[in-house]
């Protein structure tokens, strides 16, 4: 009944029911190539190519959006350049590259904390 439609990865969470005759777009999710359809939100792109949007900071697992209307703030991701994007209210553009975990280069753990976590004293 829900046969795979263009742009739906086999591991996707959302199911496309109509409007599949739209031009395909290419994007990159966590470094891996993915496809979406023109007019998709980034959230739909993430959830047709996979099953999660981000991971909760507090240990209770993956998240896949919640309200889809920009209210819950549970779908924020990053571009490779570190820009914050709210997936449900961002349209996919060709060549977009997004990360579902904070890019380490943008909020790097300070060397001092790294040392402490290793049980070392800095310097």
């Amino acid at each position: 009944m829900n046969k795979p439609l263009p742009g739906t990865g086999s591991g996707g969470r959302f199911v496309r029911l109509a409007e599949t005759a739209r031009p395909a777009l290419r994007l990159v999710i966590d470094g891996a190539p993915a496809t979406a359809l023109e007019g998709d939100t980034l959230l739909v792109a993430l959830l047709t190519n996979g099953r999660r949007v981000r991971t909760s900071e507090f240990g209770d697992g993956t998240r896949a959006g919640f309200c889809l209307m920009g209210a819950c703030q549970d779908c924020w991701v990053w571009t490779e350049a570190g820009q914050r994007l709210r997936a449900c209210s961002t349209a996919v553009t060709e060549g977009m590259a997004v990360r579902t975990t904070p890019p380490a280069s943008l909020w790097p753990v300070t060397p001092e904390v790294v040392a402490r976590e290793r049980g070392e004293v800095f310097k």
Partner: protein, 463 residues
């Protein structure tokens, strides 16, 4: 005043009709909206390039949706429409906005502010609701309406209110698989509820027809359920919904997505920041900003219309938006506005009274199951953003002495996450009230703090 500076926040039904009234009166308002397109939620427009008809998207409301969209398109040359713009704060006589994509901020001096901020779904936590695959009812509808997607391949709908059946029926019609529709309210509305519902007989009829269509499609419908658990794993997400049925038996429904919702809660943050007074409404058990019969708040120059003030639905929002705009013009001594206001005030208020009667019937027929909050197991996550449990909330009362919801927030962190209490606030108040043995109307309400939604720290100052 010949050229009053009027700002409308929100381009849903209320905001559109407010803008339209202003333009008719010869005023050029600024209309601020977070989205790229007008329409709000119920009449959310699909992206350009989608081909489904209004009839397919909006069903029985197609004509209204089409009229709203068409009318707004006609307004465009006459308004200053600021899309993808968030009103993040308000101070006396000034609205503070940010254009999200660029980070450009602006401070708008306003003679009148008409806030049409709409509503979100109202959620009662269910153990496991924080996991991937759990959505609000509104989300399930937006996925379908705006993106032609179902939230999963086997969906369970749970909650109460007319939206529950509407979205489920829309899913079935669109070819999605719906495993169950689980309603926490009882099957038989009380006589008082029926009286309210009969104020809008066409709507009542449509509701019954939706239920019938679901049954005909073989979807399992249940009433008087008590949600027990959403089975899920941290990595895989949702796998089933477990409820107790009306006979006390545990029932389990496999699914890979759950849509939850118990009608709506008003988006009242701007009204709160504008220092509008609020009052507790016993019928819906939520705090709402005080407004008079025309939508005037307790703060001079601030008008509230649509679901962000009173949950009357789209039709009520359209009438309320128009009335509030005319009232604003009247109060600003705008001549044309005063003429329109005098001519239309009574009729618009009569419309709103009818809508309100229906709303009261809805609230009685599909009650907010507040008693579930007190019964939630201690380890139930209440604040999804911060992973705060019911037990931690109860501790704020029993061990740390809180007797008020903001104090409980300070002690437990409930409401301190990115959603700023939108999805946990009502349940948190019920839990704190139950733990403190104080009526919920005396436990306070979570006070809004700016920004209205998260503000990217790249936001630029303006001159």
């Amino acid at each position: 005043m010949s050229a009053p500076r009027i700002v409308v926040v929100g381009a849903g039904p209320a905001g559109v009709r407010a803008a339209q009234a202003l333009v008719e009166a010869g005023v050029r308002p600024i209309v601020v909206d977070e989205g790229r397109r007008d329409g709000g939620q119920i009449y959310r427009r699909q992206p350009e390039g989608f081909t489904r008809t209004h009839a397919l998207l909006y069903g029985s409301e197609a004509a209204k949706a089409q009229a709203l969209h068409r009318d707004f398109d006609a307004l465009r040359p006459h308004i200053d429409h600021r899309t993808e713009t968030l009103a993040w704060n308000v101070t006396a006589g000034q609205l503070h906005t940010v254009h999200a994509p660029s980070g450009a901020t602006a401070t708008l001096d306003v003679d009148a502010l008409i806030v049409c901020a709409g509503a979100t779904d109202r959620l009662m936590p269910v153990p496991g609701w924080q996991h991937a695959g759990c959505y609000s009812l509104g989300a399930a509808q937006i996925a379908l309406k705006a993106q032609a997607c179902a939230i999963g391949s086997r969906v369970v709908f749970m909650g109460s209110g007319p939206l529950l059946y509407l979205v489920a029926a829309q899913y079935v019609k669109a070819g999605a698989r719906v495993n169950a529709v689980l309603d926490t309210s009882s099957a038989m509305p009380t006589p008082a509820a029926l009286r309210g519902l009969l104020q809008r007989p066409r709507l009542l009829w449509r509701g019954l027809a939706l239920k019938a269509s679901l049954r005909l499609a073989g979807v399992k419908l249940m009433n008087a359920v008590t949600p027990l658990q959403i089975d899920a794993t941290p990595d895989g997400g949702v796998s089933a919904v477990v409820v107790r049925d009306a006979h006390g038996n545990e029932r389990r429904f496999d699914c890979d997505a759950v849509a939850l919702g118990w009608h709506l809660r008003a988006e009242s943050q701007l009204a709160d920041l504008a220092r509008c007074e609020f009052a507790f409404e016993p019928l819906s058990r939520q705090w709402l900003p005080r407004i008079d019969a025309c939508g005037r708040s307790s703060t001079a120059g601030v008008y509230l219309a649509g679901d962000g003030a009173r949950l009357l639905g789209a039709d009520g929002a359209e009438a309320a938006g128009r009335l509030a705009a005319l009232a604003a013009l009247h109060d600003l001594a705008h001549e044309r506005g005063r003429t329109l206001f005098a001519a239309e005030q009574s009729a618009l208020q009569r419309t709103l009274a009818t809508m309100n009667g229906f709303r009261e019937g809805l609230a009685q027929a599909f009650p907010w199951p507040h008693e579930h909050a007190a019964a939630l197991p201690h380890d139930t996550v209440v604040c999804r953003c911060e992973a705060i449990t019911a037990g931690e909330l109860r501790r704020s009362v029993r061990e740390l002495g809180s007797q008020e919801v903001n104090r409980s927030k300070a002690f437990s962190r409930v409401g301190m996450g990115r959603c700023q209490g939108r999805y946990c606030g009502h349940a948190a108040a019920e839990i704190v009230a139950a733990a403190a043995s104080i009526p919920v109307e005396k436990i306070g309400r979570l006070r809004s703090q700016a920004p209205v939604k998260p503000l990217l720290m790249s936001a630029q100052e303006h001159e």
